[in-house]
Symmetry: D2
Subunit: 347 residues, 4 copies
């Protein structure tokens, strides 16, 4: 079968012909129809410090996907819950199920996590084998949307971690695809006001398409002054830090109201200076680090919002490429001209 | 009446003769029997940057106290809930009751907060007038304990903010009086393991007296290695950062387990460098800034623990002085030789 | 001034000329512009067992209202937070502020609660005096809506008590005005599906106007079968029991999914038979009894939803009468032909 | 191997020689050392309506046990987390992992649950095969205690469902083994006061041994009057209904304070009459139906409390029998003379 492979240390990827993966007794085999390209895939392409420290090539890349079940292992078949022909996506974090985190509702933080397309073969390929327990049926969700439920789930996790969203004011700082999804999730969840900021006007336009009522460009707008004006002087109830820029953190803390919450998803590449006394303690803030998706309450909430039509992520999709044009897909992301980029693999 | 007064800008305080405060219609007048001396009082004595930016002398100092009601304003009397002769303490943060914070369970973060002994006359005096709504009846709690329910409440707030304490492992970083109280609160609340650290062995001894099962001195012990050993390699479920030392924050984040929680009470005097990606986001940590006491759920929980004898803060009290020896009280705190210091004003 | 008064034991009310109420030092005087008529007022008119056991006539009736501040007591004025000319409504439950419930976030359950229009003079009058702390500024909410924020608040409390609403399926059982409001609140709060039931088709029409996607009439529909069909066989995540009919309870428990929640607002007039083993324990249900409005988080959330235009309760208003036609207002409610009924008192 | 078998419809059980169970690829085989006898086993012995409607004999009885791993299936072995020689117990509810309940933290309510000793072969035998994912390592917990972690877990689930336990007043209504365990759990979790009631003085004595500070016998004491006296007139913060007696429910609701909580574990055999208006709605109560143990947060908390020595359930164990004396074990339970009864199967 075809697969996008990181063949060894160093930049780039290759489209190769590799064997169809083995489907173990508790696995299902899925024919991939569409896959999402993520910033993580760019890091892997470029072979940055994180990638070179973590990957053990050769490995098939890709962790966001949807497709159709074509075979089931014996144990998976015996459960009777999945069947050949089911359209599905999957949680790409494969966890141990036994550690303190797995046993207390924090499986997304399992220390034994193996991520598809990073720690084991991934989804930029004609087929992928996945543990049945990680598989999610689409049940009416379009395959193209199913292919990006991984990053939409990041946004659902970020927006829903903490206090009730209905009636709240939400400030989304950073409008990459997950930031844009977060605008839509906040709106669907009953936020009274969604404000988004980014230096990139194209991204702000995508954020508006997802429901942000006000968009701010720090190149032109005094973001903190505007957030306070828009919130009657209070600051935002919830700040979603999606930029990963070290400067974003200070702004995130300053934009939150007293007693408010800052959920941090963007991962800065270096240390950040924080005045904890002024910005966190005297403000009574709660900060929360977002990793992955809650297994599986995030998936449940996301499925509900998507199937009811409350959340439609498609305005964020800007590019679609066939599998062999993975290089072009990576390039448009690198140039900052893309929202979400999809690989169309089969139909 | 006698009162310890900050007479004007600059270091020091004076014992003066001042008028008994006016008891307004919604106030009660309290004869102070005992008062606690706080690190804040040391800042005011020394007239540091915070103190000179906030206080408007002359002002009577002191915000931790207990005593006996000697008079009630008309409205307070009409309520019929407090009476002359009642032994009481009081929440020293006087809040507006109308702002977003006051209306949503975060009154401890009211922007219009006026603190006794800081923003208005305080409790190092023979009498203090307090709004009836801030007053808490002791109902069996010893006056000396009542006099320090303000800082005990800080500890109750810190330990109880977040996940359930029973069965958890708690690491208290910094064993000043509030850190020591936090050890006792965690123990009373069913923590399975309480570990405390401080550079000062006298303080570690007080922490042990309050129930810390293991105490660590960073001057001798590799604190992180020891916390991990003691928690089966996981790290602590809850870290209470009570030191306020900028280096304490990095250690606090590192000592917390994946998915754990760090409640921050100590206020560092300068900015802290944080590697948010490694230490907060990939660990899925929750951080929370602790200010004051929740009004009044913290007081309710604290009253229950004290009246049931589950929590006895007295091992932390190391010094008792009469009101006129305020200078000596400040001195023992400054020298780092004290646990909690009490002023005995009347009996 | 004019006031609708229950003059003594027995059915009926009278429009009388009475003195303008005294405005105490912590009170504000409000000129009433509009008031809502509630089922409770019908009970008082009819002088049923509850009314005769609780009211001590003569008393001015009415507890839902909005109007303009015309005077402030000295203490209320000194706070500087309310002013003559402010358009306001108020929480009609006046509580002690000192009991266990008031001190732990359950002030709506204060045992010393005095309700306006029931335990003290109410709002079907030209003026009412209210404690400043109970007053809520409208700040852009229409007076007519302000006049019914008391029952809208019941709906907000009912829908928001418990798990997160976004993405949930909500079944509202009973479509009186508060049930209809609950449909709108659930929709605004991001529910994926809102189903409502009532025997009265006019009420079902109002529920649809508030956002119920499916309405069921137990006279024609097999409600339980339909709720299960609509929820993929699971049952509803949240059931709001607003009917108060004893038969409603069994249906509410049966309609909830395993692990779901039933919030009970309707007050049945007699005991209900419950098979706790089958319907509550083996289902892992949570039940919650709803009284009043949370003080004041319910008001905060409600204000946000109303000001942002996410919730518009006006489709439920079916009748408007001048104050002197209180008898007609009561009559349309009794006949079951009304949604919400408003008294227009001044403008 | 030896096994206690329900051979067919009708009362009684038989000790039989049966084949050692097959250990599937994801299973482990456990040599049972000790097992707990439960009220459910009595129902099965007596073949009551519930038992005859649910069991499909022949089936090996017993769902509470601990023992030693003697073999692992291939998949279980490959995980590398369990090994031959490990002392373990297990969650006896085998769930699907895919349904709404399993995916949202309510796996204990999975509709596809198969219970060992009820729906499939159980633990009153020399060996049992269990899915590896259900197995819990004892890691220092005594085997005899491990054998009864199933019912201790019921108590942990009951006491911990809801508000924070530290500082609370807990009333345990019904002192069978799980009620007695609940007294110990509440005490370990920092309850300020634990009150227990039962008609059986022997059981009250066991409850005192587990930490109940006050025990009440409804045959002698006016339970409601006493609970109110002991709680300053308020009623209990948390009531644990463990009796399953229909009359227990009315008493449970009446004993709870305004805004309090009643967690219901005892399963009444017939419908209960409830005055919801007076006893639930106007009191603002929360009721919660307890089934099984939360998977696996209950096990995690329980393990912590047991390993730290905060909870010692052994005072509740009153009888120990060898496997072949299952009839005597059932008899002492039926006669109401037993606390917890253990079968000693191997050592």
């Amino acid at each position: 079968m075809r697969a996008v492979v990181k063949p060894g240390p160093g930049p780039g990827m290759e489209l190769r012909d590799v064997p169809v993966p083995v489907c173990g007794p508790t696995d299902v085999l899925i024919q991939v129809q569409a896959a999402g390209v993520c910033g993580t895939d760019l890091h892997i392409w470029e072979w940055d410090a994180w990638a070179s420290g973590r990957l053990r090539p050769p490995v098939v890349i890709g962790h966001e996907f949807a497709g159709e079940i074509t075979a089931l292992g014996d144990e998976a078949a015996a459960e009777g819950l999945l069947a050949v022909g089911d359209l599905v996506t999957a949680e790409g974090h494969i966890v141990c199920g036994h550690c303190l985190q797995c046993r207390t509702g924090h499986a997304h933080l399992c220390t034994r996590t193996r991520i598809i397309g990073v720690d084991r073969d991934g989804a930029f390929a004609d087929f992928i084998a996945m543990p049945a327990s990680n598989v999610i049926k689409l049940e009416g969700i379009a395959v193209e949307i199913g292919a990006i439920m991984d990053p939409i789930g990041n946004a659902v996790h970020t927006v829903h971690a903490g206090d009730a969203v209905p009636g709240s004011t939400v400030f989304v700082l950073g409008c990459g695809p997950i930031g844009c999804f977060a605008c839509g999730v906040a709106k669907a969840a009953g936020a009274s006001l969604v404000v988004a900021s980014d230096f990139n006007d194209m991204r702000l336009s995508l954020a508006r398409g997802m429901g942000a009522q006000v968009t701010l460009n720090p190149g032109r707008d005094d973001v903190l002054v505007r957030v306070r004006e828009l919130t009657g002087g209070d600051g935002a109830d919830l700040v979603c830090e999606m930029s990963g820029h070290p400067a974003g953190h200070a702004q995130a803390f300053a934009a939150a109201r007293l007693g408010g919450r800052v959920n941090l998803l963007g991962t800065p590449s270096r240390a950040t200076e924080v005045d904890f006394a002024r910005d966190v303690i005297f403000k009574g803030l709660t900060l929360y680090g977002v990793t992955g998706r809650k297994m599986y309450s995030t998936w449940h909430t996301m499925g509900r919002l998507l199937r009811a039509g409350q959340l439609d992520p498609r305005p964020v999709i800007t590019h679609r490429f066939p599998l062999e044009r993975i290089g072009d897909a990576i390039a448009v992301i690198k140039e900052g001209k893309a929202g979400k980029v999809i690989l169309e693999i089969a139909s």
